[in-house]
Assembly symmetry: C2
Homo-oligomer: 628 residues x 2
Amino acid sequence: MKQPGPAWTAVPWKAVSIDDPFWTPHLRINREHTLPQIYRICQETGRIDALRLNWKPGMEPVLHIFWDSDVAKWLEAASYSLATPALEAHVDEVISLIVAAQQPDGYLNTYFTVVEPTKRWTNLRDWHELYCAGHLIEAAVAHFQATGKRVLLDALCRYADYIDTVFGTEPGKRRGYPGHEEIELALVKLYRVTGEKRYLQLSQYFVNERGRQPHYFDSEARQRGEDPADFHHKTHEYSQAHLPVREQDKVVGHAVRAMYLYSAMADLAHELHDQSLFDAEQRLWDHLCTTRLYITGGLGPSRHNEGFTADYDLPNESAYAETCAAIGFVFWNHRMLQLDCNARYADMLECALYNGVLSGVSLDGQTFFYENPLASPGTHHREPWFRVACCPPNIARLLASLGQYIYAVNERDLAVHLYMQSTAQLSVAGHEVTVRQETAYPWDGTITLRFDMDEPAMFGLRLRLPGWCQDARLTVNGEAFDLARHLEQGYVRVERVWQANERIELELAMPVERRYAHPNVRQDAGLVALQRGPLVYCLEGADQNVPLQRLVVPRTAELTSHFEPDILGGVTVIQGNALFEDDTGWAGRLYRSWPTSLQPGAITAIPYYAWDNRQAGEMRVWLRDGGS
Amino acid sequence: MKQPGPAWTAVPWKAVSIDDPFWTPHLRINREHTLPQIYRICQETGRIDALRLNWKPGMEPVLHIFWDSDVAKWLEAASYSLATPALEAHVDEVISLIVAAQQPDGYLNTYFTVVEPTKRWTNLRDWHELYCAGHLIEAAVAHFQATGKRVLLDALCRYADYIDTVFGTEPGKRRGYPGHEEIELALVKLYRVTGEKRYLQLSQYFVNERGRQPHYFDSEARQRGEDPADFHHKTHEYSQAHLPVREQDKVVGHAVRAMYLYSAMADLAHELHDQSLFDAEQRLWDHLCTTRLYITGGLGPSRHNEGFTADYDLPNESAYAETCAAIGFVFWNHRMLQLDCNARYADMLECALYNGVLSGVSLDGQTFFYENPLASPGTHHREPWFRVACCPPNIARLLASLGQYIYAVNERDLAVHLYMQSTAQLSVAGHEVTVRQETAYPWDGTITLRFDMDEPAMFGLRLRLPGWCQDARLTVNGEAFDLARHLEQGYVRVERVWQANERIELELAMPVERRYAHPNVRQDAGLVALQRGPLVYCLEGADQNVPLQRLVVPRTAELTSHFEPDILGGVTVIQGNALFEDDTGWAGRLYRSWPTSLQPGAITAIPYYAWDNRQAGEMRVWLRDGGS
């Protein structure tokens, strides 16, 4: 297995300012519409009042075990976004409620404080107690980073300190770990802002203990008087607790849980230089990316376990592909990049971000997909909220912290993972540098970078050459740079003494590409997908004259693209000649002995992320491939 | 709308003896293995002991509301099959138990006698009280026809008499009707054997009352203190009770319920010369056959309502296509044929029988499909029994009474609907005639008919020219008969004075045919099915070298057939050249920008009914169609 290279540090969200033609409208809508809406719904549904701890048996609504996490994710997102006094007032109010809800021993969970006070820590397998703690910790870290205020951070440190007294291998402690992973990655964040090693060790304990025999979830079930075999999901693969994590080599079970676990494993491998964890991560990542990942970066095809099924089983209409799972895949890839600056991780991060994540929210920021299928007969639509409401605040916090995914530094190099018009303040090789990136990505593949610094600075610049790009050119101050001789794991590396305002220009050719799936993917057999740059495209009924399955895209058909400013907030569409099946001779018949004839026609495809933003109708990503 | 022609009468099962190379093995296995197995499981699961009425609260197992129907269907099937003393002893024992279980007022239902004695007739919408009554009536009619013994028939007449005092439009009666249709067609059978008009009128009442406003199921729910809007299935379409039956023009809801209702409507249209019912039937039949029917004669694609979804929505892997629904479709078509001797009904009866029904039982008669998908990744297998066990005894009774579907007579003509080697005793145009049919159908399309009678007899002979057949020839005593000039609704009609032992020979060309689905069926787009004669074919993993989705059948590929005596009890297989996708260059990739290459290969297809009788593996009916 590959050894990790020198560790990288992501340039944090606070040091990066995004001013991008593509992303800025989404981020503004997230801040101005999505966040206030989530707050309002948290109010209306009782999630915020729940923090007052005045629920009594018989009252409606009854708190739910994951409500704390919904508020926490909103709080995290709002903390990244603090810009208006109104938002700040809500944030401060919620923080006061959270702090006041903390119990004398440091415990902090509304459900198990007021609804089931005798059940604390009795069902880690099924309930979301440590998961909620993790989200509160992430919110506290974000609020501290945003404001420098310690009140929430201190409260969550006290909670983490308390949890540390409850769980561990020492005599008298419970040898448990969460059914829904999340606290593991949160504790690493808490360690990074506080420097408190115990938090890192507690995360390490949770990850190491997972899947060991005798199995904690089974003994815990017996302690509740239950038969462990009665577990609803039958197998501990559901929560990746079927084996110790270093022995796992297949992505299984609930997809969000898997992504959060793998993210924490990457964090720990990074902090602890743990080669065995990194080895397991590479096996799991390879397995996912070669057998179980949708072309959109979506993952977890099944509704039943909200997760993985079998290799190459990627149904399109029934794809679950939860928004949170694609978000978790972004988290994981981001952490892998900090271990290993390999473009394959950034390619997957980009793929998920621009497709399977961004599809999760409408263009107006008001409605959300929980599931992100790759085809729809016209019955799948975004909704303002869900009873299980993990996705809306999750996408809100990802968008609000988007800046952190663009740049990373190590002691010698600056890496640019994503192309997004932005300015970053960072320190590389001992120099304080301002990086300015200009681009109209993903519509256009030209990226210009300039540095600003007090004095010339020697460092390496790594620019990702996306896996989708077949033809890239780089100039430095107008002079061609030989890419092929300076490639490192999918990045072109330019090391030199940089002067202020030198112009680095990368041109990524962005033609329309046809994409094919592995022949073992039975659901995509005979089909082709269209992609341009990082964007996967789809057909929507609104742009076509016939039902989508009647359209065939010949291999010889030229496919062109152009920007349409007036639809879907402005998108580049793909157009081309196609054939369509007519219905001559089909009246009164459902089956017949001669094939349907094909007529010349045309298609217009839109980016997948933008579907279901117009009148309701059909959609499909995988189109009929017109012959060899 | 078409007027019904002169009414036809099916030649009953008792008058027909099947001695057919294809069917006789299935019928023997049904009699010798399936029926004893169902009896044994009914014993083991408590279904037969339930008839002793000694269940008390707290005892296990608790009776279930549809147990009576399982025993009744077994009893009906066993009655058709009475041949061995052992079977007869079981039949007599069960009949004694049923008769002893009848209450003084005539009521006869184990569940509502011992488990919920206060709930009689309180939930017709959800419970199966009248449904169970219907199956008991059908069993009683079958046993009476088989043996001439009246004991069970008399008991069920008393039950029907009692039901007639409970339901109806007269003051003091309940204006209810069953949530699960069945008793309607059973009452017509009871009327036909007893001549008691009240049974026909009760059936007519149930059918006419269905779907009227104010809605009985809603008022009944209110009487139970429930909100009618809380109905689990949301809409009375579920039980075809959303509209009065004569206003219905779309097949909706639970597929078995629909088939049983439509069967009863045909019976009533026949008995009562009711044109408005016949009109509704033709609309419903057209809607089903042009928009919602699988090529196998299976129907009802959705597991959620065990029934219909939207026009042209015919998913293959997730097809529910319950065995009982295809059986019900046989029942309905058989009844339509008695109203209108139109080959379209016999074609559909044949299609369902040879494909979607016969697939429901394994070749050894020991395991059953509840669901009959048209594709499987290898995970769908027959089972010996189901918790809801309607299918096994249903297919057993259909096979045991198969003789009744072959021939029909009216006052002038004899019609041959199905081709099956058999002998029938019948009366046509005042003559007693023995019909002998010889054939190796469905493997071979040659059918020879001879009549035996005391004296020459003038009548019309109608022979169905199957819709799948493009080339038919008929000779009478070796002389060619001009088919085209004597076609009536898909039947060739030969009217003459027949002599004993004249030889009528029909030759139906039976090449391999490619079949295509309507271009609105998105799940079959770009795909082709193979058929030969009435049999739909499929690929099974056992016969192929690569995963099935990798195989492409070029339109130019010659497809041949030959009989294989040594597999699957002897079947004609289809073989031909095909192309298959190799996996060159796919290692480590899930998606790529260039298509998979095709190599020359071959396919072997087997009849759909015979799948899942060897090692477990993939199956698909719809194959990739290799280009135009």
